[in-house]
Amino acid sequence: MANLAAVVGIGQTRYTTKRQDVSIAGLVREAAVNALQDADLGWDDIDAVILGKAPDMFEGVIMPEVYLTDALGCNGKPMIRVHTAGSVGGSTAIVAASHVQSGTFKRVLTVSFEKQSESNAMWALSNPQPFSTHLNAGAGGYFAPIIREYMRRSNAPKDVGIKVAVKDRLHGARNPLAHLQKPDITMQEVEESFMLWDPIRFLEACPSSDGACAMVIANEELADQAVKQPAWIRGVAMRSEPTTFAGRDEVNPQAGRDCAADVYKQAGITNPRKDLDCAEVYVPFSWYEPMWLENLGFAPVGEGWKLTMEGATSLDEGGDIPWNCSGGVLSSNAIGASGMIRFAEAARQVRGDAGDHQVEGAKLALGHAYGGGAQFFAMWVVGSEKP
């Protein structure tokens, strides 16, 4: 049986196209300092640092964790790097949590980041492979055919993706840290935005952001002494599957279903829509909301889009299971940090510390991240009450 662990400090930068005023080191330090301040702790209170980011090829800095030790107050302490493509922010939080749950460390700092203004993700994800036809058109080019297959299978109305794009931006307008601030966005504006990778329109895709996210995770004894309400970690799970194998269900991946079943079992969840108060789920392209509603068991297969269209996932429409109240990946996408932002925002909700995007009385929340070819999954459930 694992020891208890809880989030006792959360720090983020604001998310924006270009943070010209800071280097990568300055960016991660800003998030880390914010997390330490939130926990009322100093550098000496941290036993180890767990750092995550997306592929090194993005910024062209190889093994950035080595040079970031100084900025993160980690000289002479253990530094661990995590790397699971787009899901990395989530996996990093889980690796950090497990080092506390196992008793290895009492209190750790975990940080993830991306500085897209100093990188070229589209280029890094479109590199030619030897002897292959060079047609890799970034992440959108990869996911568009999978979305098209979901649309065919579910026979969902054409405007489901448009509705998600509007809903998450309205959520983002409540969050001062969110990159896109579009309080007046309309369905028509999204529909008229230009097509990137049919069926994905410009406003149905995430932005490119600079930013970092950090958390302090502590064991039970230290969390009991925390200055603010801790977010108790009630379950953690990771699963992965190969990018391709015959008969793979790319729309509703087995690894995602297994990961959700595992984390729900640990947290005692039998009906995620009823038992959870809200969720922060990795939705970089709008149609992934209905797809993950089904994959994560919030709706039967083929009916995820109905929750979206009924407003069940919308804070503004008073939905019973708001998704991505922070604005989600569709409002801010500092790639390596995006998964951790989901985990941290779930924790903010159960700490009652989510500002204008707070779900009233939230006690139990899901944080979710996915990456690669929708093949790496990381999830946690956090609660306001000690299990």
Binding site: K18, Q20, G60, S117, E118, N120, M122, W123, S126, P128, P130, F131, S132, T133, H134, L135, N136, A137, G140, G141, A144, P145, I146, R148, E149, R152, F194, M195, L196, W197, D198, P199, I200, P242, T243, T244, F245, A246, G247
Partner: protein
Amino acid sequence: MSEEQEVVTVVNAPVYLQYNFTAGAAPARFLAQLKKGKLTGQRRAEPEAPVYSPPRGSCPASGRPTEQEVELSDKATVQSFTIVYIPIPGNVIEPPFVVANLVADGANISFIHLMSDCDNSEVHIGQRVQAVWKPEEEWDYSMDNIKYFKPIDEPDVPVEKIGKLSVTGQEG
């Protein structure tokens, strides 16, 4: 310096790295056949085992070796697709263009390739297509031997049969 001039904050400094790529045994056999204008795949040496193309030498689901070589047709079915409206970095192709996930007859896994010589608005899941090859003298160890796939006059494949056709296609 004029006041309207924008401050330079980013300078692109490309770095080039030349390397030799060793394909490995299974892809090397695949590429050798491709140079002769043939598409091939591999499967585990047991009945009903899925056919992978291009082969990597092992089955990604079981990890076991794919020892049997299988010849595929250059006819294929559209499993899904996207129409790309933005340029691919380092590729001269002009948008919009159709990138399709295709399953060759006789294979059980899709690969991506270009669809052309078609009306983009009429491309659909289950559509039948065939390879348009470059002239034989230009053939190399590359999937680029196939310029693109174009629609052919055959009935659509029902969705439940996509990825399950034999090398003889819809004739079974």
